[in-house]
Every structure is written in C-alpha cells, then in structure tokens.
Amino acid sequence: MHDVRLVVNTVTHERRVEPRISLADFLRDELGLTGTHLGCEQGSCGACTVLVDGRSVRSCLLFAAQLDGATVDTVEGLEVGEDTMNPLQDAFARHAGLQCGFCTPGFLMAATELLALESKPTEDHIREALSGNICRCTGYQGIVEAVKELGTATQQQQSGATATDATDPRT
C-alpha cells in the first residue's frame, strides 16, 4: 500500500492506495469524482483525460500510487460557480459539442490544456490537439467550433481589438 497526497481541483486528499488502482479509478471510486469516464482503459479513446501538473494524461494509464505530490484537474473543477459552466463548457453546449456526454469530460480537459498553451489555435491545430479523443455522437464539428470560439474570445479579451483571423467567418 502507498500513501499519497494529491491536490485535486484545489482540494488536498491524503489516502492509502493499492498499487493497481489507476488514477481514473481513484478519482471515481475513492473521491467520488465520476465525471472522469472510462471508455477503453487502453489509452486509445481519451474519455479518461485529466490534467496532471497541468498536462493532459490518460488517467487509465497512471496509477494513483505514482502521484504523491501531484496536482490533478478534472472536469468537476471547471465550473465557475455552483452549477455554473465555464466559458468552454458553455461554448460546447451552444455549438452542440456533446450529445450523450460520455466523451465530453475528456474533450474539455484536452481543450483546456490546448487553450492554456495556445491562446488562438487554428482549426488544424485544434483537430490535431484533440485527435486523441474519440466521440461517437457529434462528428466533432461542434467540438471544434466551440474551441475555436474560445480562442477568438481569448484573443479579443487580451488585445481589446477585434479578431482579424481571415479564416474565421464570424469576424
């Protein structure tokens, strides 16, 4: 058994864990954070994507016992107030970036990492960055549009000027 101390969505947790418990299972079963989903447990589908120390990872391929001292961000940490979605989640909803919602937490965390690293990603870059997440429902277009909108919005907020991206039909 291993003693681990993790900060999950800014809350510190100390637990004793068996080596074989994945980070995904730890989040879901030990902490009750069931927003992180298990699609394949192979690292192929991305539904289990969370951020560990700011970087997107497949939580099904990490063992909680490896992560003493780590910071973990999950989809539950995205809300900006009680029952209030953050701008990315809101954009997903408005652009039909989800239907059944099973893949959505993984996409949201992957997109969160992308937007932290690249404030105004092109569509190609968005598709590349999200290529590790699989969706069976939406056909991806709404997801891409939602992330694109966030990029544009960030640019406008930062510069105070109108976005002049020639490839974006909205500007």
């Binding site: 990872v57 391929l61 990490l62 063992f63």
Partner: protein, 297 residues
C-alpha cells in the same frame, strides 16, 4: 479491464532501480511513461509481479546539446519535451518530423524516449529513427555501464539487447553531418495509429549535386526496425535527383519482406515502402540543399 495486483517500487536513483531489478529479476518490469505497458497490463497480456517506477529518478531526466554538437537525452525525456524543444527540432529534422506522430498529446505527455526504445515495437517511430540518426544507448546494470549502437540493439519484436537487470539511462545522437538532410514519413490509417510503414531517410549531397550517401530505416516492415542494406553501391556516381530516389526506393521495397496481417496485406506494405521511401528521400535531399547550400539537381 483492471490489471492483476502487483507491487510498486519507486526508487530515487538508477542504482536503487538496478538493485531492485537484480533482486526481482524476471518478475519485475521497469515503468517509464506507461503508455505501452499499462494497456497491456489492463488487458492482462502483461502480468508483472512488480513495477519499478522510474518517474522520480532525476538523473534520467534532462536534455543537453553537448560540446561536440551531439544530443544527449535522459531516458525519461518525455516525447512532448522533445516535440517542443526548438534546438532539437531545428537540428534533427527526423525527430522534428517523427515525434508528433507518436500517439496523441496525452500519450506524448507521459511517454518517454527510453521507454519507446526499450519497448521496441517494430512499428514505432523512435526505434527506426534511432537507426537512421545513428543513436547510441547507454545501459547500466550491476556489472557496470556499457554503450550500444542502435543498429545492435533491436533483436526481435519487443526484444532488445537490454538485460533483465539493466536500465537504459541515456540516448546519445551525433550531430547531423554537413550537407545532409533528413526526413520521416509514415502512413497510418488514422492519425496517431502505429504506422503501417514508416520511413526515415537521410541524404548527403555534395556541392556538385552528387549524392554521396543515402540511408533508409523502416518501421513496420519486419519484427524489428531495419536499415535498408546495400544502398552504398547504388549511389556511387549518381546525381541527387528523382531517378536516384526511384531506384533506391525500388531497392528498399525489393529487399524488404514485410508480413501481411489484419492491418494490411504484404503487397500493400511493399507498395508503401516504395512510395514513402521515394518521398522521404526527395524531402531529405531538398533539406540537404537548404542546409548546406548544395545544389540539388
């Protein structure tokens, strides 16, 4: 699915890892990024009794460009770190081309160069690239340290010269020779999949526009990554032009005997070798021209 129960050790030094490996021999596996071994454990295709986690060992981290221009990577260097490293990308175009093809972002955030090389999947990018860039691997075990060339390292599918009580600690890549360009190209059915065929090409062009050397390494063509043999006599006296790439690619396709499997019949893999080798050689030669200002006819 969930893995069988196992014991986890988290050493703080390479020596501690080696000690643990020596004690537990065949029952222990080293855990690097985990992006290959953990899926196998989740499927119960791999059932190690112990995992030795290398992620806390500082001496396995770090990238440096040495005084002689060679690249030295700690074995635990994440793919993502290589992908973002501007000096590496500028100086080793094969790494710049190939690393973004490794899985997806989440995989590259954890996966490591040492793990990929030690795992030795014949369809993986880095083992084939290491052949073309003449990488050397530093191994350390209870009997001491040794250095081994990539061309002597890969023995069979998932089997390398690494002994069961050794740790791969560093990857060393010599500088790209003057007048040499390099390129990676692969074909996979979906972006991020293992390649059906991947080709690493290096071409050296002299100031008169003659090709002085060509190298081709293949991923997915055999049970190990392979250097295409017999290219040297084919480039003698030849200009660096499309007819040479066609001939070299034809030779590569003929000298390989890829297997057919559920992903592609062998005829298709052979076809891919021919097509991709030609394109990779062409790109490598154009880059040789750009790098050294050599004339490319």
């Amino acid at each position: 699915m969930k893995p069988y129960a196992f014991e986890l050790r988290i050493p703080r030094s390479v020596d501690e890892a080696i000690e643990t490996l020596s004690e537990h021999g065949e029952e222990a596996k080293l855990l690097a990024g985990g992006q290959s071994i953990v899926p196998m454990m989740n499927l119960r295709m791999a059932q190690p009794e112990m995992l030795i986690d290398l992620n806390r060992i500082e001496e396995l981290q770090g990238i440096a460009i040495e005084g002689d221009g060679s690249l030295r990577c700690g074995a635990m260097t994440r793919h993502r770190v290589l992908e973002d490293h501007s000096s590496v990308r500028r100086s080793w175009r094969l790494l710049d081309d190939a690393v973004p093809h490794i899985g997806h972002v989440g995989i590259r955030n954890r996966g490591t160069i040492g793990g990929s090389i030690a795992h030795a999947d014949p369809a993986a990018e880095l083992p084939a690239v290491c052949l073309a860039i003449e990488a050397r691997f530093l191994l350390r075990g209870p009997r001491g340290s040794r250095e081994i060339a990539a061309s002597n390292f890969f023995e069979m599918t998932f089997t390398t010269a690494l002994e069961s009580d050794e740790v791969l600690t560093d990857v060393i890549v010599p500088p790209v020779p003057d007048g040499t360009g390099e390129a990676w190209i692969e074909f996979a059915r979906r972006h991020g999949d293992f390649a059906l065929i991947g080709v690493a090409a290096r071409v050296a062009v002299d100031s008169g526009g003659s090709c002085t050397k060509a190298t081709l390494a293949l991923a997915g063509a055999a049970s190990v990554p392979t250097l295409v043999p017999g290219l040297e006599p084919l480039v003698v006296g030849r200009r660096a032009d499309e007819s040479l790439w066609t001939d070299l690619a034809e030779h590569a396709a003929e000298s390989a005997s890829p297997r057919g499997d559920l992903h592609a019949p062998k005829e298709y893999r052979t076809h891919l070798i021919r097509v991709l080798a030609e394109r990779a050689l062409d790109t490598a030669a154009r880059r040789a021209e750009q790098a050294g200002g050599d004339r490319y006819a």
